[in-house]
Symmetry: C2
Subunit: 141 residues, 2 copies
């Protein structure tokens, strides 16, 4: 799923997952596809209702829950006590700015040099993800 998806492409993807297409759900998913900053529910709600009120908080939660169930969206749990959401469900890593908290995606190949097979006799590893901390461009001054 590309960020430049047209409304029809978005609808098709949702339909393909068997989702009923309501204005609220569409708005939430389209919003997540358009941005790359891993927003919180609060931020999605604000953005989606910016021009005219269209969705309640409960509907945003419910849209995110079902989008997560069909694997179009995933949770990102990094810092704070807030859940962030991401429409990029392909494997990738995260960079978190320790100053402003911004999150950036890192390409999967960035950290792909090791082998889960030989991790341990007791633990059966299936996947991994790297979280890098540091300063983003804006906070480097």
């Amino acid at each position: 799923m590309l960020k430049s998806s047209s409304a029809n492409e978005i609808r098709d993807v949702m339909k393909h997952e068997g989702l009923r297409i309501t204005p609220q759900r569409f708005a939430v998913y389209a919003n997540l596809l358009r941005r790359d900053d891993h927003p919180t529910v609060e931020q999605i709600l604000e953005d989606v209702n910016a021009e005219l009120p269209i969705a309640s908080k409960a509907s945003v939660y419910s849209a995110l829950t079902i989008l997560r169930e069909v694997n179009l969206v995933r949770e990102v749990l990094l810092d704070e006590g807030v859940t962030r959401y991401d429409a990029n469900v392909n494997p990738h890593h995260h960079f978190v700015c320790r100053d402003c908290g911004a999150i950036h995606d890192l390409a999967w190949q960035t950290f792909s040099c090791f082998n889960l097979e030989e991790l341990s006799d007791d633990l059966q590893a299936e996947s991994y993800e790297v979280t890098v901390k540091g300063l983003c461009k804006t906070c480097q001054d």
Copy 2:
């Protein structure tokens, strides 16, 4: 700090950080040092009060806050909506069981082939941590 620390060793470490040693704080830190399962506040509270009630939930929170400030303890944010705590403040990685949620420490050298220098022109990386998901021994059947 080793897991087998004696009461006096624990007191010395705390004193060295300028902490006043109260029964509650001591109990919380000693408890965290003794176990390796990254407990939640609820679990610490339960364990600390197992024999006789010694600490309130608020005191456990406050002890953890100050232990975190002096870097004797750190938060681990992995899944769920709960914060877990860890008295191992040396760099290491985590393994999370997708079935039972148990967390195990992975030695730092397990994933040490990453070069942060060449990460990106815009992002100034300072540290990283790997989270591995899979099945722990108990859940492999």
